[in-house]
Amino acid sequence: MKVLGIIFSYSTRENLRELTKRRTLASLPVGAKYRIIDFPLSNMANHGIHEISVICRNNYHSLIDHLSAGKEWDLERKRGGLRVLTPYDRMAGNEPVLYRGMIEGLANNMDSLHRSRADYVILSGTSVIYNVDFKELLRNHIASGADITAVYADNYNGSHFVPNGSPIYHLDDDDRLADLTINPEESEQPNTRWGIDLIVMRKYLMESLVADAIAFGRYDFDLDILKRLAGSLYIKGVRYEGHLLEISNVPGYMKANMKLLDSEFRARVFRDPVYTKHKDSVPTRYFEGCHIRNSMISEGCRINGVVENSLISREVKIGRGAVIRNSIIMQNTEIMNDVLLDNVIIDKDVIVREHRSLAGHSTYPVVVEKGSIV
């Protein structure tokens, strides 16, 4: 049974401030070494999905650079493999048109998707990181006889948090979708089933649903396909049981990264290998006087100072006397001597000069834009 994975590199509901100003959500660094797209790509590749299309909308420059031909995910293949689908020119009169939802992204790339010989498609967003056994998901989909399987969570790593803008699934007693509403604001809502942007169906069904929707100017997958057709199609809700990371705003991004410091949680996330682009960094050097506690640190760093409850990406330098707490430092950044950082997110290629001090709060972390000098 051949499956085509389709990953949307963008989200229409994210607000990540400076972090996605010059990059699409899928190429946002996460977990001290990875980019978000590494997780769905590796997850698919680990479960035998070797034909994957990544649909790009805008700002995909860094994503193309990161993915290249997909060698690191073992997706550089002659048969199937990775395809990065950039938009054709889309202009309405004089205005550039960005895809408004998943449907437009699919419609714009239908030529390429059509060429695939897959029987089924699995659609995935990028704002939720999960780890699914796709083989079992597909088996269940086929066994259930459903037209569409839509995966939901009702338990976000133990809490009842529901992200803003998520589709809320209202299921009948047979787990069949009866209605769908959009969550108006981020909040704790016990027993609410929210979709994690993970959909399974036959490829030809997707092709005809997209063609129909586009003919009527409809573009939102949740409202214009799932909700509208809940009555006429058998759309089955399937509960996701594993761990989740949800990234659609800056505090959520911080929380998701910090969650990885939990060793038990981390072990589950990395149970199967997560692939990313190689760098030929040296082992990280720890010097006399450094003090590290409860942190994730990548290779190529040179660390002299104090690091606590933080994630440090590759090739970061931390000077003597520097103290970094509850922070995320991205690749190739230099923190000079005696700097103090608390609840800060520092993007790539930043220099923080001696004795500078930055502090945010977990509900509003300070973000330092890529390439800045502080």
């Binding site: 070494k33 060793s263 040296v282 990280t284 006399e288 003090h291 409860n294 290779e299």
Partner: protein, 409 residues
């Protein structure tokens, strides 16, 4: 074979050695495949030197336990050696219509692969060994070779006079033209020791390889036979003095020392050197996690480690676990080693996949002696499980599993 095109120079890397003085570390792998420096293997050095010197075609001559080495090299991609024309080629012994023969000596190994070399019609051939740790620009050596209009250029190291008698020594005139070669001379006339790195004019080398092969008494070795024969015939042979770091990691002690050199800022073997990167095949592990109870100093740690103990002046390869209360000092923990709680590792090498139980002591010394001071290194072989409260004396070699409370002297 595909896209015939000339190469000015290609390298032939002798990677067949058993490295028997490394004992348990090379029982199942060839010496060039021994892990080194926290994320490398020894062969990464000559391979990376080649690509950094713009040599993109390398024949790797393997014979002894090549499975892991061949898989490690694979397509050559980690070293940028997956070229359409050229790249890295594994060259094992083979049979032809007259039958097959194993590589008898270093020169014979090249002799048997003359067809491979001829495919590229090179002007020069660089002969390398797969068991030395050094960073060297072979392009500079080639420049020198051309300037001297040499038939053969031999890279040499100036060693302390008192050590010269342990090496193959080149006696050269003021122009650095070699007039004599002495293998481990009792009374050395020079302190220029051969590094086992040669550039030959290919036509000339081919001629001597054929002569050497015809000589039934020859050991078919570069140092013992081919170089002396060329000298005797009066060929233009020059010494090229290399001034950087170089180490033959042929013994446990030199392997340990050379590893430690990578984290010693006073030794010129900096690995964090972007214009001269040492490439390696990545283990693809998540970032290292440093726990609540860790204490780290003067160490290099690779990805995929889980460290909650104390690490001091040590090299920790990827996937290593060090539990709370454990202390690792002056040691090398190879990939996927586990050190259980409250154990002590000092002046030791623990090989891949081995596990040391709780409250154990590796590198244990009699009272009154400070551990490791006499230069002895303890070795735990690969894939072994040692129990709890085990004691292994300084300098001992462990090659079998140990039960709880066993003591090895």
């Amino acid at each position: 074979m595909f896209n015939q095109k000339k190469k000015e120079i290609i390298a032939m890397l002798l990677a067949g050695g058993q490295g028997s003085r490394l004992g348990v570390l090379t029982e199942r792998i060839a010496k060039p495949a021994v892990p080194f420096g926290g994320k490398y293997r020894i062969i990464d050095f000559p391979l990376s030197n080649c690509v950094n010197s713009n040599i993109d075609t390398i024949g790797v001559l393997t014979q002894y336990q090549p499975l892991e080495l061949n898989a490690y090299i694979g397509s050559g991609q980690p070293w940028d050696l997956d070229r359409i024309y050229g790249g890295a080629f594994i060259l094992p012994p083979y049979m032809d219509s007259e039958g097959g023969q194993w590589y008898k000596g270093t020169a014979n190994a090249i002799y048997q692969n003359m067809n491979f070399i001829d495919q590229y019609d090179p002007d020069y051939v660089l002969i390398l060994s797969g068991d030395h740790v050094y960073k060297m620009n072979y392009a500079d050596m080639l420049e020198y070779h051309k300037e001297k209009q040499a038939d053969c250029t031999i890279s040499v190291l100036q060693v302390p006079w008192e050590e010269a008698s342990r090496f193959g020594v080149m006696n050269a005139d003021q122009e650095m033209r070699i007039y004599e070669f002495e293998e481990k001379p009792a009374d050395p006339k020079s302190n220029l020791a051969s590094m086992g790195v040669y550039i030959f004019n290919w036509k000339k080398l081919k001629e001597y390889l054929i002569k050497d092969e015809a000589d039934k008494k020859s050991d078919n070795d570069f140092g013992k036979n081919l170089i002396p024969a060329m000298l005797q015939a009066g060929e233009r042979m020059y010494a090229y003095v290399y001034g950087g770091y170089w180490k033959d990691v042929g013994t446990i002690e030199s392997l340990w020392q050379s590893n430690m050199d990578t984290i010693d800022p006073t030794v010129p073997l900096e690995l964090d050197d972007p214009p001269w990167r040492i490439y390696s095949r990545s283990a693809n592990k998540p970032p290292q996690y440093i726990g609540e109870h860790a204490e780290l100093s003067d160490s290099g740690i690779a990805d995929g480690c889980w460290i909650d103990g104390k690490i001091e002046n040590s090299i920790i390869f990827s996937g290593v676990t060090v539990e709370e209360g454990a202390t690792v000092s002056n040691s090398i923990l190879m990939p996927r080693v586990t050190i259980r709680a409250n154990s002590r590792i000092d002046y030791a090498i623990v090989a891949e996949n081995s596990e040391i139980g709780e409250d154990s002591c590796i590198g244990w010394a009699d009272e009154g002696l400070i551990m490791g001071q006499d230069g002895q290194i303890t070795v735990v072989g690969p894939d072994l499980t040692l129990g709890n409260r085990v004691k292994v004396a300084r300098g001992a070699i462990v090659s079998t599993e140990l039960k709880d409370e066993e003591v090895v002297k």
